[in-house]
C-alpha cells in the first residue's frame, strides 16, 4: 500500500526524519508515537503525498511520489482517508455535504449514495447534526465528521493524526472503536497519537503494532506497551 524506503525529510533548519523504512501491509493496524515535535505529522504527510521526501523514496500504491503528477496524487488521496488533528471543513456547507465532499469532487452521484451517507452519519452518531454548519459542532463531533469524510469513499488506507486530541476519554473510545471496526473491514489504519492509554485500549481489541519516532528514526516499540 504505502512503502517508505530509506526516507529522509528535512525542513530548512535541519533533518527531522532520517533513514526511515516501512511497509504498510493491507489490513494492518499501526500506532505512531513520539514526543510532540518529533515529526509524527510530517511522517503522515509523507505517507499521503503532501510532502515529498528530501532523500530516499516514498511509494504510494506502487508509485514513487516524486514521479506522480498533482492529478495522480489527487486520485491517490481518494484511496487514502486522512483525519487531521485540527479538522478543517467548508464552513459554509452543512455537515452532510461536508462528509459527502469526497463523493462530490470525485464526480460521483451524491443522490445515488444518499443512503450510504445517511448510514455513515448514523454510524458516527452525527445524524442529529447533519444539517449543522461545521463551526457549530463540538470538538468531538468535528473529529467524528472528519472520520466520516475520510471513509466515505471506502479508502484502502486511513491515516489519523491525533484523532482523539481534543476529546474526552469516552469520546476517544468511541472514535477508536470506529477505527477498529474499519480495520476489521480490511482497511489499513495508522493512528498518530501520544495517548498511551488509547494505545493500550486498542491493543485489547486489535492486533496493533506500535511505531515510535525517536532521535529522527522510526523504531518498532517493544511489547512493554
Amino acid at each position: 500500500m504505502i512503502e517508505l524506503e530509506n526516507l529522509a525529510y528535512s525542513y530548512g533548519g535541519g533533518e527531522l526524519l532520517s533513514d526511515v523504512s516501512l511497509k504498510l501491509a493491507p489490513g494492518s493496524f499501526h500506532f505512531l508515537t513520539g514526543p510532540s515535535g518529533s515529526g509524527k505529522t510530517t511522517f503522515l504527510k509523507l505517507c499521503y503525498g503532501a510532502l515529498v521526501p528530501t532523500a530516499g523514496h516514498a511509494r504510494i500504491f506502487g508509485k514513487d511520489v516524486r514521479e506522480m503528477t498533482r492529478d495522480e496524487i489527487a486520485l491517490a488521496r481518494r484511496r487514502i482517508g486522512v483525519v487531521h488533528q485540527d479538522c478543517q471543513f467548508l464552513d459554509h456547507l452543512p455537515i452532510s455535504e461536508n462528509v459527502a465532499l469526497p463523493l462530490t469532487v470525485a464526480g460521483r452521484d451524491v443522490q445515488a449514495e444518499s443512503q450510504n451517507l445517511a448510514d455513515l452519519l448514523g454510524w458516527c452518531g452525527l445524524t442529529p447534526r447533519a444539517g449543522a454548519l461545521p463551526p457549530q459542532l463540538s470538538g468531538g463531533e468535528r473529529q467524528r465528521a472528519a472520520l466520516a469524510r475520510a471513509v466515505i469513499l471506502s479508502p484502502d488506507v486511513i491515516l489519523a493524526d491525533e484523532p482523539t486530541g481534543n476529546v474526552d476519554w469516552e469520546m476517544s473510545q468511541r472514535l477508536l472503536h470506529l477505527l477498529v471496526e474499519l480495520n476489521r473491514m480490511g482497511k489499513t489504519v495508522m493512528i498518530a497519537s501520544h495517548d498511551l492509554g488509547l494505545i493500550r485500549a486498542a491493543k485489547q481489541q486489535v492486533q496493533a503494532r506500535v511505531l515510535r519516532i525517536s532521535g529522527r528514526r522510526l523504531q518498532l516499540a517493544g511489547a512493554d506497551l
Binding site: 503532501a50 492529478d71 488521496r77 486522512v82 478543517q88 456547507l93 455535504e97 462530490t104
Partner: protein, 300 residues
C-alpha cells in the same frame, strides 16, 4: 475545448463545483462593475474606429476620382479657353467626363463665403470645370503640359494635396481606436487576474480541504473560473446596454456636419459591439484559468 462544450460548462454548470467556494458578495459586485465599465469604454472605442474607418474610406473614394480645373482669364478670353480646355479633357485618356459648372452652380458654391446678398455677377470669378476620372486615373503632369499650351489660364487641382493628410489622419484615428480596444482587453485581463488571485487566497482553506479529499486542480479551478467568467459576461452585457443607448442618443449628424460623419454604427456594424461580452467572457476565462492553475500549482 470546443465552443459548445465551453458554453455547456458555463451555462449548465456544475452546481456542486460552484457551491464548494463560499459566495462573495462585495468583490462579485466590483468585478461586475469593472467589466461593465470596460465594455462601455470598448463600445466607444469601437464606434470611433468604425466611424473613422468609414470617413477614411469615403474621402479616399470620393476624392480620388474627382479633380477640378480652374480657369482664370480676362473676361473676353474665358469662354474660348474653357472650350479649349474641355476639348483637351475629352481627348485625355483616363477622364470619364468633364463638365463646366454653370454660373448658378458657381454662385451656390460661393454663397457660404460671401453671403447670398453679394452680387457675384460683377466679380471676375474663375470658371470651374468638374473632372471625373476613370478608375485608372489620368496622367496629371501630361495633362498640365497640354493645358499650358491650349488654355494658359487653366490650373489643375487633383485634390491629392489636401486629401492625403485627411485620409492619413482618419486612418491613424482608426488605428488608435483599435489599439484602445486591445488595451481595454488587456486591462480587463489584468483586473480579473487580480480579482481571481484575491479570491484564491481568501479561499485558501477551501482549497486545502478540497485537495485533502482528492479534488484535482481542474475541479478546484472550475469553481473559480466559472464564477468569474459569468460575472464578467453579465457585467459586460450591462455595460454594452449602457454604451449602445449612449450612442443611440448622440445627436444625429446633420447634413451640414456630414464632414464628421457621426460617431456610431451603421447597418451591419451594429453586430460588432455584440461581440464584446463573449470576448470579455473569454478573456476572463483565460485569465482566471491561468491564475487558478498557477496558484494551485504552487501548493502541495
Amino acid at each position: 475545448m470546443t465552443v459548445r462544450s465551453f458554453a455547456r460548462e458555463m451555462l449548465s454548470g456544475d452546481a456542486s463545483a460552484d457551491r464548494v467556494v463560499p459566495p462573495s458578495g462585495f468583490t462579485a459586485h466590483l468585478t461586475l462593475f469593472a467589466a461593465g465599465v470596460m465594455t462601455f469604454l470598448a463600445v466607444f472605442a469601437l464606434a470611433l474606429s468604425l466611424a473613422t474607418g468609414r470617413l477614411a474610406e469615403r474621402w479616399g473614394e470620393d476624392l480620388a476620382h474627382a479633380s477640378t480645373l480652374r480657369i482664370s482669364a480676362p473676361a473676353d478670353q474665358l469662354g474660348a479657353q474653357t472650350e479649349a480646355a474641355l476639348r483637351v479633357l475629352e481627348t485625355t485618356e483616363g477622364v470619364a467626363s468633364a463638365r463646366a459648372l454653370t454660373a448658378a452652380e458657381q454662385q451656390a458654391l460661393l454663397a457660404p463665403w460671401f453671403g447670398p446678398d453679394v452680387p457675384l455677377e460683377g466679380l471676375p470669378v474663375p470658371q470651374l470645370i468638374e473632372v471625373v476620372e476613370t478608375d485608372d486615373g489620368f496622367d496629371a503632369a501630361g495633362l498640365r503640359l497640354r493645358l499650358a499650351t491650349e488654355a494658359p489660364g487653366a490650373v489643375l487641382d487633383d485634390h491629392t494635396r489636401w486629401r492625403r493628410p485627411l485620409v492619413a489622419a482618419a486612418t491613424r484615428l482608426k488605428t488608435l481606436g483599435l489599439l484602445s480596444i486591445l488595451l481595454i482587453g488587456g486591462a480587463t485581463a489584468a483586473m480579473i487576474t487580480l480579482a481571481a488571485n484575491a479570491a484564491l487566497s481568501a479561499n485558501a482553506q477551501v482549497i486545502e480541504v478540497l485537495r485533502l479529499v482528492g479534488a484535482q486542480d481542474r475541479y478546484i479551478a472550475r469553481a473559480f473560473v466559472r464564477r468569474f467568467t459569468l460575472r464578467t459576461f453579465s457585467g459586460a452585457v450591462v455595460g454594452l446596454a449602457f454604451g449602445v443607448v449612449a450612442i443611440l442618443f448622440l445627436p444625429a449628424a446633420q447634413d451640414q456636419a456630414g464632414f464628421l460623419t457621426g460617431l456610431g454604427f451603421q447597418g451591419a456594424q451594429w453586430l460588432w459591439p455584440l461581440l464584446i461580452p463573449p470576448v470579455a467572457a473569454a478573456v476572463a476565462y483565460a485569465a482566471t484559468q491561468r491564475a487558478a492553475l498557477r496558484v494551485l500549482g504552487a501548493l502541495t
